[in-house]
């Protein structure tokens, strides 16, 4: 006969106002197997827990039920207390009589709540009687991390993990780390130069012994689970031997072919063998194979002749490297929505309509104009510039529903940069609302308006067209209720931030969730902001949604601290609430395998003595299983059960109702 104790919590008046806890306890004491009952004001308090421990010891209880709040609140608390009293922690079960009972019933006579609490507790008793003591699952942890994406968030995460004494692999798709931040001129609200604060971090990442840099590389395949991931990385051929290259730049000098520079957003050209920008890390050029006549048609080869250490190899192939890691930080960043989508603004048709990112390059001292604001069509210094905000943002019809968050700030910054560089130039800004939430952000925008005389017009632009070498902007000024027409020399569009192309493919490869805009989902938007539903995979930066540099850096550090916490022990303990396959009855139909949202089901072969496969079985990877129970429902032969919630237990609970 089991020896069960039932503890009914009053939760101050939270439960007691609609549930007669004394009566619940009394009713429970009549049930077979229940040897101890009581009710108390606050079970979770220190005296409450002491009472629980003492009762377990004194009455030699082998199972405990606390009828109180949701198990989300205090299951851990009571299981810990039970364990301290010598009970297997999984022999402690919670009945939710607060959120699902007392809070939703308003019967002041307490009849409804009391009856329901009695029913719920009785059900739990029947379930508990069929519990088996469980043990936490121990998983070994490989103490090496992978960071995908070498922008500021990824660099920060890699540096912090390395500083915590763990090895990191930093994978970057482009030939250099740095990401979008490397393109920016100055940063709001302090106006420090982006390159000046970023490049030291890039160099630090390159020189840190614990960080292995894989640039021009992409993650191809991810297998395994928390603590034990196996990752395949494609290292695209650079056609330059990284180890021997001295970064002298002779090859770039001698290359006779030029193509549009993606880093400079087509504002200027670069050579076919190139580094994206002068401060690239690593400072190793790559050959743009589709545009290289040597690789395509075996003509030229000037770079190889110029190369002193002879490190150019036109026959170099892509390499696949396999790495074993314990945790993954995804920091793949963002891209900008194509402006061509908005025909009314004339981008792509009118040369002097540029994007905000292109303006960053014009304002950057390492940019195509050396930091002078000159318009693309004829190189003249524009005497007036119109900035259009919310190009695609907050526009469900033609763009995206969300606010891109940083545009109000960088547009204010652009007007300042413009007025500092072109004295007497007039900046106009068309805006919907000015969203400047952040430390010193509002003051920054006020400064642009009051000190640098940017003319802010609240309204949308309907049309942009060329006239006599100028760009005419027609729009509405909703504050004065009039239509305005501005003849400007240049127009700058604050384009919406969108998720990276291929973000969904990578998410599927990693088994993490994403939203309708293909931004990655955090586990909990408030309380677990850098974790994903897949244990061991963390997020940082704009792959989750628009954010600015300080936020991205904070998230990089947050993800790193999560990784370091995971790496702090040799083994990781996991909750044993996982599914288990009945090997005798499983007929390998694989319905569970397709149903499992976490890819926790594997195919296991059964071999005879000669090594021939005689049978297949489904096998649950306990390191990955989240105990959701989907496979249990999917299994047609009822061969899967969920520990702690077996069919037997659930049916017993229902029968007790």
């Amino acid at each position: 006969m089991p020896r069960i104790g039932v503890f009914v919590c009053q939760c101050g008046n939270n439960i007691a106002s609609t549930v007669d806890t004394k009566k619940v306890a009394g009713e429970m004491s009549k049930l077979p197997g229940v040897v101890f009952t009581c009710d108390y004001k606050f079970m979770c308090s220190s005296p409450g827990q002491e009472m629980l421990k003492q009762a377990i010891k004194e009455n030699k209880l082998d199972g405990v039920i606390v009828s109180a709040c949701s198990p989300h609140m205090h299951e851990k608390t009571f299981r810990k207390a039970s364990e301290a009293a010598g009970l297997n922690p999984y022999q402690c079960e919670i009945t939710n009589i607060r959120e699902q009972c007392s809070w939703v019933h308003h019967d002041k006579t307490r009849a409804t709540g009391t009856v329901k609490s009695i029913d719920l507790t009785r059900m739990t008793i029947e379930r508990l009687k069929r519990n088996k003591p469980l043990k936490k699952i121990k998983i070994p942890v490989r103490k090496k991390a992978l960071v995908i994406g070498g922008g500021i968030a990824g660099i920060q995460a890699a540096l912090d993990i390395a500083e915590g004494g763990r090895d990191v692999i930093l994978v970057e798709k482009e030939p250099s780390i740095g990401g979008n931040m490397a393109r920016l001129s100055e940063t709001f609200p302090t106006m420090d130069c982006s390159q000046c604060i970023l490049t030291p971090k890039m160099v630090e990442a390159e020189l840190n012994e614990r960080i292995t840099l894989y640039t021009y590389s992409e993650v191809e395949k991810v297998d395994g689970y928390i603590g034990n991931f196996t990752v395949q990385i494609r290292r695209k051929s650079k056609y330059v031997d990284e180890d021997r290259c001295t970064g002298c730049g002779e090859c770039i000098e001698k290359c006779p072919f030029k193509v549009e520079s993606q880093f400079e957003l087509n504002l200027t050209k670069r050579k076919v063998i190139y580094t994206p920008f002068p401060q690239s890390v690593p400072n190793v050029p790559v050959i743009d194979a589709p545009n290289c006549p040597k690789i395509q048609k075996d003509k030229c080869g000037a770079c190889a002749i110029a190369c002193g250490p002879k490190c150019i190899d036109f026959k170099m192939q892509d390499k696949i490297v396999t790495e074993e890691v314990g945790a993954i930080v995804v920091a793949t960043g963002y891209q900008l929505m194509p402006n061509e989508r908005f025909g009314e603004y004339g981008y792509g048709r009118i040369k002097d309509v540029i994007s905000g990112m292109q303006f960053e390059r014009l304002a950057s001292s390492s940019g195509p104009t050396g930091g002078e604001i000159r318009r693309p069509s004829d190189g003249k210094v524009p005497q007036s510039v119109v900035f259009i905000q919310c190009v695609g943002s907050r526009d469900e019809k033609k763009g995206v529903s969300y606010c891109s968050k940083v545009c109000c700030m960088y547009t204010a910054k652009h007007t300042m940069l413009y007025s500092h560089k072109v004295h007497g130039g007039q900046a106009y800004v068309f805006y919907m609302d000015i969203r400047s939430g952040g430390k010193r952000y509002e003051e920054f925008v006020r400064k642009a308006i009051e000190h640098d005389n940017a003319m802010y017009l609240r309204g949308r632009v309907s049309r942009v067209y060329e006239k006599d070498g100028r760009v005419v902007v027609q729009g509405a000024d909703t504050l004065s209720g009039s239509q305005v027409e501005i003849e400007a020399d240049m127009v700058v569009l604050a384009t919406a931030i969108v998720s990276r192309e291929g973000a969904d493919t990578l998410a599927q490869r990693l088994g993490i969730g994403y939203d309708k805009d293909k931004f990655y989902n955090e586990y909990h938007p408030k309380l677990r902001p850098v974790e994903t539903v897949t244990a061991g995979i963390f997020l940082a930066g704009t792959c989750m949604g628009p954010m600015d540099i300080p936020e991205s850096v904070a998230q990089g550090s947050a993800a790193a601290s999560k990784v370091l916490a995971l790496f702090s022990a040799d083994e990781m303990a996991r909750e044993p609430i996982t599914s288990v396959v009945n090997r005798a009855t499983c007929n390998a139909c694989w319905d569970c395998l397709t149903a499992c949202p976490y890819s926790a089901i594997e195919r296991e072969s059964v071999k005879d003595r000669q090594g021939n496969i005689v049978r297949w079985l489904a096998k649950v990877n306990e390191g990955v299983c989240q105990g959701c129970g989907v496979c249990v429902a999917a299994c047609r032969s009822k061969s899967i059960d969920l520990r702690g919630y077996t069919d037997e237990q659930v049916y017993a609970a229902i029968n007790a109702f």
Binding site: F342, G343, E344, R349, K397, R463, Y465, K467, Q474
Partner: protein, 289 residues
């Protein structure tokens, strides 16, 4: 190829030359515009209040009749096109509204008609490449401004003939006819539309902006696709010339007239004399006639 055709009231009265030139051009392009046996006015305005269903009954009746003639319906007038296409969408998408309207007109129309503009027939069924091959009198040296107006393009989700902010279908046609196309900022702005009835000043201002902006960009000819645009532009022209220094007017013609001209049809049959502006000096200057 025979395509069921809805001319609409205007093309049956004041814009007969728009209708005739389109039918003739169709024949030279190898298809026939087969007028519906029975049709009524489209209502000329799409009701903008969602519960004003009575405004949908006239166009729904047209659609219901047309469905009996085939699965496609073509039309020329921008207003008819707009009203019919939007009504069709309501009949297709809204079960409740469809039931009410069908009950009223005593029909069982389900919104399954495919409504295409004459320009779409040329672009998607004939193809501009074929149009180009059929040109016998290329409009060499004619700088044409293509005036879309609003009804042909918007609202984009309901109409979708082309990119509503940066359309090219009209220009592509004119280029196929050998003309030089002039891009001008007001090509998709409103002409003033029905305000012609009660507020002429607004019409003169808006139509004036269209014409002066086209001429400012170098247009020698404005091509239209809508009888109301054509009317407003023609009607405003004298006042605009009066009010705008240095503006001497510009010929305005339906695109089907220009199409017929390029396809080599007799100039006399194109109805240019019915336009308020005289295109002949321009055509003579360019050596086309």
């Amino acid at each position: 190829m025979k395509i069921p055709y809805y001319p609409g009231c205007t093309l049956n009265t004041v814009a007969k030359h728009f209708d005739a030139s389109a039918r003739d051009a169709a024949v030279s392009m190898g298809f026939e515009m087969e007028e519906l046996a029975q049709w009524n006015c489209c209502g000329a305005t799409f009701p903008l209040t969602p519960d004003n269903l009575i405004g949908l009954t006239a166009p729904a009746k047209v659609l219901s009749n047309a469905r009996k003639a085939g699965d496609t319906l073509t039309t020329l007038c921008s207003v008819c096109y707009n009203v019919l296409k939007r009504t069709n969408k309501v009949m297709k998408d809204s079960k409740e509204k469809r039931a009410v309207v069908n009950g009223f007109i005593e029909e069982e129309y389900d919104g399954s008609l495919n409504i295409i503009h004459y320009l779409e027939v040329l672009r998607d069924r004939v193809g501009f490449v074929k149009v180009k091959e059929a040109v016998k009198r290329p409009l060499k040296g004619v700088k044409a401004g293509c005036y879309y107006g609003c009804m042909l393009l918007r609202p984009f989700e309901d109409i979708g003939i082309d990119n509503a902010e940066r359309p090219t279908v009209f220009e592509d046609l004119l280029r196929a006819l050998g003309a030089e196309v002039v891009d001008f900022p007001n090509k998709i702005e409103c002409c003033g539309a029905h305000l012609a009835m009660n507020n002429e000043d607004v019409v003169v201002r808006l139509s004036g902006n269209v014409m002066t902006s086209a001429v400012g960009m170098g247009a020698e000819l404005i091509v239209t696709s809508c009888p109301l645009c054509q009317y407003n532009l023609e009607k405003s022209q004298p006042k605009v010339s009066e009010r705008t220094a240095g503006y001497a007017g510009v010929p305005i013609a339906y695109f089907t007239q220009i199409l017929g001209l390029a396809l080599g049809q007799p100039v006399e049959g194109l109805g240019f004399e019915k336009n308020a502006t005289d295109i002949m000096p321009l055509l003579q200057k360019k050596g086309i006639v």
